[in-house]
């Protein structure tokens, strides 16, 4: 049989359709968005306004608006807070799930259930759970004696973001746990046995064997979780819509408001571009690190 140099043409048929859709539906918006950032475009009183090139005016306006910095702060708290707590929780869950040999698959299914339900459902369920008067959380906390009065979780300036974060963590941590569990299970038993012969207790075994072996997985899942959190929108929109008083408005939510509440497409695009640059930067960092890791001989 003849060996062809490349399967170029054949590949086009196989990969073509998928590629076209992905490029068209993902690349095109990104480029369009980039370009639109430099224009003044939106819906005014008389319908669609004409597109007017205004250079970096959108960006200047954004960076000088107080709301941008508030949204940025919220986004950073949201992203970093969620990622850290999710990683810790996922790690604990993965470790203990790994110990339980018997009902393991049952536990896994049950713990993964929050992840497969729609974000909207999560939001609605947790809104009710956090309800001031009728919610079980307030009731439980009061019965435990942890609070004296019912707390308005989603109405309070400091508590709203925390409440949504709890709902988000509840939904997303199973994914991180599953990834960590997979890596955890691939750690060879011999390492633990060798450690045991040296007389380490279980805490030391964790610190000196488990953790180093998991470093890569923890890093990868953290990046993945951070990016997912950065991009998330559903939960915040459903639970508070950005309030109260913009205390839960993240950058993503701001883009939505700019584009579909205020109908300023140019500004919305500009903010989206800023978010995009941030994402590319982080992904680039991750790829660079992986490239370096695979190129050096360990």
């Amino acid at each position: 049989m003849q060996k062809k140099k490349t399967d170029g043409w054949l590949a086009t048929y196989f990969i073509g359709p998928a590629l076209v859709i992905m490029l068209g539906v993902i690349l095109y918006p990104v480029v369009y968005n980039l370009i639109l950032s430099f224009f003044d475009f939106g819906i005014g009183q008389t319908g669609l306004t004409a597109m007017r090139f205004i250079g970096i005016a959108n960006f200047q306006e954004l960076l000088s608006s107080r709301l941008f910095w508030v949204a940025l702060k919220n986004t950073l708290i949201w992203t970093a807070g969620n990622t850290i707590i999710i990683e810790v929780l996922a790690l604990i869950a993965a470790i203990y799930l790994n110990k339980e040999i018997r009902g393991q698959s049952i536990y896994r299914v049950a713990l993964l259930l929050p992840w497969v339900i729609p974000g909207v459902v999560t939001g609605i369920a947790w809104i009710y759970m956090f309800d001031v008067q009728f919610g079980p959380i307030n009731d439980l906390l009061k019965q435990l004696g942890w609070i004296r009065e019912y707390v308005s979780w989603l109405g309070g300036l400091g508590t709203a973001l925390v409440a949504i974060m709890i709902a988000y963590i509840w939904k997303v941590y199973p994914m991180a746990m599953t990834m960590l569990l997979a890596d955890l299970q691939s750690i060879p038993q011999e390492l633990y046995e060798a450690a045991k012969v040296d007389g380490v207790n279980s805490w030391q075994a964790f610190w000196y064997v488990t953790l180093p072996m998991l470093k890569g997985a923890i890093f990868t899942t953290s990046i993945f979780m951070a990016l997912t959190a950065f991009n998330s929108f559903d939960l915040i929109y459903i639970m508070t819509g950005g309030g109260p008083l913009d205390s839960t408005t993240t950058l993503g939510l701001r883009v939505y408001n700019l584009g579909f509440r205020q109908f300023e497409f140019g500004s919305a695009s500009a903010l989206a571009t800023i978010m995009f640059v941030g994402t590319v930067f982080v992904v680039g960092l991750m790829l660079y690190r992986r490239l370096r890791a695979t190129n050096t001989v360990s």
Binding site: I21, R108, V109, V120, V121, G135, W170, N231, G259
Partner: protein, 295 residues
């Protein structure tokens, strides 16, 4: 204390055994407690949603809330069907179903190409796929809206189908490519020696072997489409075309205080994916994590 030291210490054997057993029991108890807490944390909201959806109207607005109602009713489910939830469910199934079929076909083809064929730019394209997965959705709002507007696709199912397909493809291709790479090439060679074309090889030999991976992809695409909210919000204005998440959100706006009906709606939206997941989980979890480890 080293094992060998212990043996030499002269400590009676039975004490050693007892303390070891005691240690084991404690650690088992701790494991059980930790898992129980996690389980309660994860499952409690479902319990709450279910109970609420069956509560009598008068039990809904009690402060402190009733944990275990004495009587249950199905009136909330009846109410939401009257509002149109049956229709919304069909809408969601339709969109998710079409997307799943398209994604399975396209991603299998693409994954076969990435795992078996040689061509220019191959190493480059797969990470780009992944980049697409990590794109902030915010970047896509405005362009998509303009694009669908000018194509006249606003308020049609196709706007959703196209977007959901594009959203599910990157991860699906990546997952399936990883999976296919683990299937030995000798299978293909055997088939091709027997006279199969690439396409026939793929259909007859590789696909049957890759079923778990394909099911994972199908499930992933279904979930993404089923639960997607944002683009549905942007594209669909006609209330008859709403998918379940959209209906639920709109419902919340109107009937903010009718928790019974809302929870009934929530349960309805949750059940299909939850059932699929529980039934298929044995196949899915290995498939979902296989891609993760390979990286």
């Amino acid at each position: 204390m080293r094992e060998s030291d212990r043996q030499l210490s002269g400590e009676p054997r039975c004490t050693q055994v007892i303390s070891r057993i005691w240690g084991k029991i404690t650690s088992n108890i701790i494991t059980f407690l930790v898992l129980l807490s996690l389980l309660s944390f994860s499952l409690f909201p479902f319990l709450w949603m279910g109970i609420t959806s069956l509560k009598l109207k008068k039990d809904l607005y009690l402060s402190p809330p009733v944990w275990i109602p004495s009587k249950i009713t199905f009136e909330h489910y009846q109410q939401i069907i009257k509002i149109g939830f049956g229709r919304f469910t069909v809408n969601s199934f339709y969109v998710a179903g079409v997307v799943t079929i398209i994604v399975v076909i396209l991603s299998t083809l693409a994954a076969y190409g990435f795992s078996r064929l040689r061509f220019v730019g191959k190493e480059f394209l797969l990470p780009v796929c992944l980049l697409g997965q990590l794109m902030p959705q915010s970047v896509m709002f405005v362009p998509f809206h303009r694009m669908m507007s000018s194509l006249g696709l606003v308020d049609t199912y196709w706007s959703l189908i196209i977007v959901y397909t594009a959203l599910s493809l990157p991860f699906s291709i990546w997952l399936l490519t990883g999976y296919l790479k683990s299937i030995s090439y000798s299978l293909d060679e055997a088939a091709m020696v027997d006279g199969c074309s690439r396409l026939q090889t793929m259909i007859r030999i590789i696909i049957p072997t890759a079923i778990p991976g394909i099911i994972s992809v199908a499930f992933y695409a279904f979930i993404i489409s089923w639960q997607e909210f944002l683009f549905a919000l942007i594209f669909i204005n006609d209330s008859r075309l709403r998918t379940l998440p959209l209906a639920l959100a709109a419902f919340k706006g109107q009937y903010e205080i009718n928790w019974g009906a809302m929870m009934a709606g929530a349960i309805t939206t949750t059940l299909p994916t939850a059932i699929f997941f529980v039934v298929l989980q044995r196949l899915l979890i290995p498939g979902l994590t296989a891609g993760a480890i390979k990286e």
